[in-house]
Each structure stands twice: as C-alpha cells, then as structure tokens.
Amino acid sequence: MNEAWFLLIFPLASAVLIQLRFKRTPNIAAAISVTSVLLTLLLSIIFSHTVVEPATFNWASIGDFNLQIGLQMDGLSKGMMLVVTGVGALVHIFSLAYMKDDESKARYFCGLSIFMFSMTGIVLANNFVMMFIFWELVGFSSYLLIGHWYQKDSAAEAAKKAFLVNRIGDFGFLIGILMLWTLAGSLVFDDMTLPAQGPLLTAAVLLVFCGALGKSAQFPLHVWLPDAMEGPTPVSALIHAATMVAAGVYMLFRLQFSFGHEGWQLFANNAGEIIAWVGVITSLLAALMATQQDDIKKVLAYSTLSQLGYMIMAIGLAGHSGDHGGHNMAGESGMFHLYTHAWFKALLFLGSGAIIYACHHEQNIWKMGGLAKRMKATTLTFAIGTLALMAVPYLVSGFYSKEEILLSTLTAEGEPTPFFLIAAFVAFLTPFYMTRLFVVTFFGKARSHGAEEAKEVNNLMLLPLLILSILAIASAFRFGGIDVPALFQAIDPRAGGHHPDSRAVGLVMGTSFAALLGGVGLAFFLYKGRDTDPLANNALFKIFRNKFYLDELYLKLVRVFQDCVAAIIHFFDEFIINGLLVGGLSRSAAGLGNLFRRMQSGNLQVYSLLFGGGILLVIYLTVFFTR
C-alpha cells in the first residue's frame, strides 16, 4: 500500500471514530481529531521533499471503464497539502481553546475531520470525478460546520444557503466535466490532451468555471459566503478564508497545470476573458461592500471575496499572459496569491476569533474599541495580518503576490488594461476598509461592556496566531539562500526568471503604493476617534452596506419562482393531469362499475337469464362465428 493513502485515512478514521465511539466524550474526540491533523501535517512535510509514487485504486469499474481514486503527488498538490494541513492544524489547535465549552464539541471536531478528509481529496485528486466527489464532500462538511449551532435559525438558513448555492455551481461544473471528458479524451488530469479551440471548448471551460463560481464564491454566486460567517470563527478561518474557498482557484489552476506549457491556451479565448471579468467584478463589489460592514467577520468575509476575485482574475488572464519559458505568469501569480493569502487570512480570522472570544461573543466593531491596550499580543498579530492584506511593500508576503497579479493585468507592452484600473482601485479600497476595521476595533475607547472587560486570550489561542503571523510575513520571502515558497513547494511566478520590464514594474509599484497610502490615510482621517460611521447616511454607502440589495433580489427571484412557477405547476399537476386525464379515466371506470352493479340485482332468475344468454353467446362465438 502506498503510504500517501494515510493522508486520506487519518482524517477519515478520526471522523468515523468520533462519530461511532466518542460522541459522548468530547475531550477524547478533540484529541483524536487534533492528532490526526498533526499526523497528516507531518506526513505532508515529509512527502513535500521526497518522491512519492502516485497511487490509484479502482473505485468503480465496468469492463475497461474505470473510475479511480488516485493520488496526484506533484509539486502543486504537495504545496497545497502543506497549506491545507498547516492552516488546518493551527485551526484545530485554536479550536481546542475556542470551542472548549461548546456542548457539541465532538460533533464540531468530527466535522473538522470530515473537512480535512475532503479537502485533502480535492488537493490530491488525479481525475475530475474524484475531484467532484471530494468537491461535494467539502461542500457537505462546510454545511455541517456552518450549521454547527443549528438551533439558531440564522445558522441553519446560512448552512442551507451555502449548500444550495454551491449546488448551483456544481450543476455547471458537472456538465463541464462531462464535456471535457469527451473533448480532452480523459478524465485523468495527466492523460488529457489539449482540445482544439472552438465554441465547445469555451463552453466547457466556462461550465467548469461554474464550479469555481460556487465554491470560491464569485459574483453572482457570492451570496453564501458572508452568511457562512454564522459558523464558529475557527471554521470561518479554515474553510471560508484559507482553504475551501480557494478550491475553485486550485481546480482551475490544476486544470491548466495538467496541460503543462500549453495549459494557458485553455483560457486564450472568450472563456478566459469572462472569467477574468467575473473575478475583477467580484473583487470590486466585495471591496465596496466591505467598506460598510459593521460585523468584524463580515468585513473579513468580504475582503476574502475580494481577494478571491483577484485570484480568479489572474487565472482568467492566463490566456493573455501566454507562455514564458515554461511559466504562465498570470496563472501562477493567482496560485501564489492563494498561498500567501491562506496564511494571513487565517491569521486575521483567528485573530477576530480571539477578539470575539475576549469580548464575550460581540462581533460589532462599533461596540469594541480600545482593545489595543487590553490585548497586546492579539493586536500585534492582527496588525501583521492587516499589513499583509494591505500589501505593504517589501515587508509582508501579501505584497509580493499582489504585485505579481497587478503585473499580469498589464498588456505585453506594459500598457494598463481595464483590469489594471479596477484592480488598482480595489488595491485602494483594501487598505481603506482594513484601516477602518483596525482603527475602530483597537483604538479609541471601549464602547461596550464586553469590550471593557476584554482581556488577553490564553496561550493555546495565541500560539497559532504567532505562527501564522510569522508565516504572513515570511511566506513569500526569497532572499539570500532562503526560499520560503520553495520550502512550501508553492507555485511562485518569480521563480520563472521572467522579468517584466522596469517601466511596468514601476507603474505597478507606483500605483499600489499610492493606493495604499491613499486608502490608509483616508480611513485614518475619517474614522480616527469616531463612535459611529460618518458615511452611514450617505445614499451610495447605504447601497454598499446593503450589499447592492443582491440578497433581496435573489430572495425575490426565488420567491417569485417558488410561489408562481411551482404553484402553476402544482395546478397543472392537480387539475390537468390528475383531474382530466386520470379523473376521466377513473370516472369512466366508476361509471362502468355502476352499470355492472345495476346488473347485480341479486335476483337469481335474472342471473340465470344472463347465464343462458351467455351460453348462447359462447356457442355462437365458438361454433358459428369462427366458421
């Protein structure tokens, strides 16, 4: 047996054990879950620098048709595994403290283990069917974890919404898989051949992208992610910031990666264009919405959306960027941003978790304030995360990856495209809303009882925060013989040796630096020392606050659809099919039956008469008629 299977077996075994045996002993359950994730982390570290044979296992076979569960052990999956298990392990540890007193702790850890199992499956999948299987399972574990506090209506609704929205994306995803199966000749990534350009390929790529649309919460299917913040905060950090939502990006890049140097051609058509536009629009809308959120987790959720939009845009631009010595700058920069973003976004979410925990489950930033004095270590780590998200030049990892994405939005001649302009505007909005968040939360005076009583969280929570803040700074660090991304097997566009001309670099550097300064400065100016949001009554910002009324629109659409269409169909079903078709049939049967009933007068003489007539008829038919 291939030892790589243990990557899947440990979390699965943990989930099964907890469900079957340790439901009543939450502490043991937690211990099992943490042990399993630490073991997989250890394995991932070992595997990342050894050669592991690919392993396959026939899952469903009919004649010479095989659906396999197979493990892809290349640089991309190994690097992603390190991110997944790394963030996973830290979140598990954080959860030990955060969920200490929860009454269904065992169920929580069981859900986490299922999630680790499914996410590992997505990362290691060597074919599309396997990826789809784990894709669905990830959605399911997310459903479980969002709905952890299922007795809250909002949590139950959010879990349902997440699952359903993902299902809508998967509808397209599966069609795309089916089409690519024939077009590329195989479902196994390594066996695929690049199909010829044409409308079918464009359609197939777009349909596959639908999967990413749901899972990575891109516009217009982004609505589930902010609601998903109803789940416990560590879950938000693990699933809804660092790993699961990145699965869409990972899937698209895996598809591109499996075609090798020619992979970019997949996106060298209208599909790539559309994907890039979807990404950049999501990025812009989410950033605008983030500027007006009051819930600390919601701000972070929208910022996640915005960053995912960046990544998706980069993947979509792969077709423009082309091949440079075996590297595709745009696609790789998207993947690289996924990698750096995972660490600092997990840090931010866990940090917000610590704050929420300290403030007795208060999530509104306007009811916090002054926390910098009371929670020094948390403030420091949160600040590092914020800096990374703002992409402060040269200091933090976020800068390097965002720089690469912005570079890839330029044309080959270094001219700015519409993508660049919008992305630069988002780069201005990001520091703006993060500064707003930071200033309101940590400075000024405490605005609620919970915030006044806040005190530093315990070491079990601080440890993951510290590790993550180190990674948030260093994960993109490549200097003087130390190459952290290589250590993590991360795809790094800077490793390709492709050097854009200095004019382009200058343009990007200048723009992003200006955007950063502008954003931070404006936010400081607006929010320093405020108790309420000065922009709250502005009509434009109201739209942002209300998420462009998209939720309401969808709700209305669904309601119209459900109430009208379903009612019409129900009407047809009841009256046309049931009433006329069947009713007619049953009425005629009943009428015939009535006629026969009349004949059953109970009078023996009539019976014998009929009997005699019957005999005559039989004789007639048998003797005379046939002749």
């Binding site: 109970g602 023996l604 003489q605 014998s608």
Partner: protein, 107 residues
C-alpha cells in the same frame, strides 16, 4: 333405429326445458330439480356419443364417455345433498325459499 341426431335433439330439448325452468321458476327446490334435468340431458349426449362413436380398436361403445356420466351422476348426488342442506339452512334463517326474496347478492 334412431339416429345420433335424434338423440342429440332430445337431449337438447330436455336441456332447453330445464333451462327455461331455471329461469322462470321461483321455488328454489324446483330450480334445483331443473338443474338436475339439465345435467341428465347432458348425460344423454355423452351416452349417445359413447354408443355412436365406438372404440375404433374393438368396435365396442367408447366407455370413456360413460365414465364421464358416472362421475357426473356422483357429483350431482353430492351436489344435491349439499344444496338441499343449504336450502334447509336458508329456510330456517329466512323462512322462505322464494328466489325473488333472496336478494342478498345485490351489488
């Protein structure tokens, strides 16, 4: 000598008379007797064929037909016994054996 058709005609006539009786009579015992008449008429047909279609091997009457008659008579005897017992039970319960009053079978 009488021919086959004559026998069959007599048999048919008896059967028809029996059938008419079954239809028209209201006393259930007489109806029953008419039924017996119909059975006997059928027996006559069987015996006639037994005599006229002789066994090709021996030239003697075909006794398979008469076996049938034998069994018909036996079953008829059993039928009469049970039928009359039922009539008696019916009469005890309903105080009538007029078929027009016995309409429990009405649908």
């Amino acid at each position: 000598m009488a021919t086959l058709h004559e026998y069959l005609f007599v048999s048919g006539l008896l059967f028809a008379i029996g059938l008419a009786g079954v239809i028209v009579r209201r006393n259930i015992i007489v109806v029953f007797m008419c039924l017996e008449m119909m059975l006997s008429a059928a027996n006559l047909t069987l015996v006639a064929f037994s005599r006229f279609h002789t066994d090709p091997a021996t030239g003697l009457p075909d006794y398979n037909g008469q076996m049938m008659v034998f069994f018909v008579i036996t079953v008829a005897a059993a039928e009469v016994a049970v039928g009359l017992a039922i009539i008696v039970a019916l009469y005890r319960a309903r105080q009538t054996i007029n078929v027009e009053d016995l309409t429990t079978m009405r649908g």
